[in-house]
Amino acid sequence: MADGVLSPGVNLEAFSQAIAAIQALRSSVTRVFDCLKDGMRNKETLEGREKGFVAAFQESLHSVSRDLGELERLSNLVGKPSENHPLHNSGLLSLDPVQDKTPLYSQLLQAYKWSNKLQYHAGLASGLLNQQSLKRSANQMGVSAKRRPKAQPTTLVLPPQAGLVATPELPILPHDSLREGSEKRIKDLFLLLRYVDDVINRIDRMFPEMSIQLSRPNGTSAMLLVTLGKVLKVIVVMRSLFIDRTIVKGYNENVYTDDGKLDIWSKSNYQVFQKVTDHATTALLHYQLPQMPDVVVRSFMTWLRSYIKLFQAPCQRCGKFLQDGLPPTWRDFRTLEAFHDTCRQ
């Protein structure tokens, strides 16, 4: 069996010789240690004893080096069987006679194919994503946020440094600042939190049919529960003033997990709201204005508010309510008119 798999590059003859050489080497090495252990044998004179010992020791060392040389020569003849195999040493697994019991080899092959494919697809995806750079990245924000307090005078007077704090590294700030012992940064952090609260409060007051509950279950980043009339509820996950994630659910659906926290992962049971969730995520990416994040939040909320007539407004294009069992779930970003997903331009 080994014959077939180990390919012609392997010299079986040399193999058996090499094994014999290893045995010889081992026995000669044993002899060296035996000789050392026995020490000087009884001879009449001290000189004779030393001579005899040294001679025996020399001889056995010689035989060791000879056997080692022989082994090295043979090992060159044997070659390296593993290199011929595409999977290197793991290819030897296929030689395992108990393959039926442990399907390790076939699993290994599959895993290998998988990881190859994954790498390929990941490469493609990263290429595509690089083409369309979304201007939400942290670094750009940090730079532009510096200018924000000047560009957008607010009722709350922010020190110019507050803009610096508005970078997404925020959540880890308390640690850093403690280590550095800088109280100023903590102060800035609280100012920023108050600023976020303030912006959200103003939006809340702006739309009477919309109620916004702000909570901070995980430290600094805020989570909003927006209830729109008696139509839907939206969970908005913020990162300072940038919206990270939204989930839309029905008015009668549960938005809390069993332990009373906002459930930001599970999606709605209804197809309508799953669709609206998709559109809301699109809207997040659409409303971009890195210099003025509060304007972004406000326009997103304005857009969201147009869903108050989710079940009442017919499609502006086909004039119907239903299409494939769904009401018009799309709202135009500028005109806020209702369209079916397939009716929009």
């Binding site: 008696k230 029905g250 008015y251 009668n252 197809q271 309508v272 079940f311 069992g325």
Partner: protein
């Protein structure tokens, strides 16, 4: 025929349902106090298996636990069961996107009296909001038989729809069926 049309539309069968209604007369002891004898209906809906609905005509609706029935047996002196008037509707549930459609045969005693169609749009909690949408959906499979807006909607304005509202509509439907022998169709929610 209705079920065939629904299936053509893409609706999937999703189990069975049943609604039943028993009628109780108020006994002489109460009606002698100057009131006319009122009818009380005790209804069950397989959609809410743990509940029991007790309704007066045009009156309040009481939602109780399922063992309300045993209580009614004890109240024999005040409410008498009109056995012959038991009416029920049984049939198949269909699901199409977020719509829940229940097509049932209404039977009173041994004889079939008509067909009931219940249409529910689950995501919406305010009936008036989605009435137009429901109309359009019902037209798609019922054609000219689409009903006009149920009377419950008029009084509800924009409060939240509850299971009791469904039961009131079933009660009205059953009453209508008792009086006339035609095939009425009810659109619910």
């Amino acid at each position: 025929m209705l079920s065939k049309k629904l299936e053509l539309l893409g609706a999937e069968k999703h189990g069975a349902f049943g609604v039943d209604c028993e009628t109780y007369h108020t006994a002489a002891a109460i009606s002698s106090q100057g009131q006319t004898g009122k009818l009380m209906y005790v209804m069950h809906n397989s959609e809410y298996p743990l509940s029991c609905f007790a309704l007066f005509e045009n009156g309040p609706c009481l939602i109780a636990d399922a063992n309300f029935d045993t209580l009614m047996v004890k109240l024999k002196g005040f409410f008498q069961n009109a056995k012959a008037n038991k009416i029920e509707s049984r049939g198949t549930r269909y699901q199409y996107c977020d719509f829940l459609v229940k097509v049932g045969t209404v039977t009173m005693g041994p004889s079939a009296r008509g067909i009931s169609v219940e249409v529910e749009y689950c995501p919406c909690v305010i009936a008036n909001d989605c009435w137009n949408l429901l109309m359009e959906f019902m037209q798609s499979f019922m054609g000219s038989h689409t009903p006009s807006i149920p009377s419950v909607f008029g009084t509800k304005h924009d409060s939240i729809y509850s299971p009791a509202d469904t039961m009131v509509q079933y009660m009205e439907l059953f009453n209508k069926i008792r009086k006339q022998q035609q095939v009425p169709v009810a659109g619910i929610r």
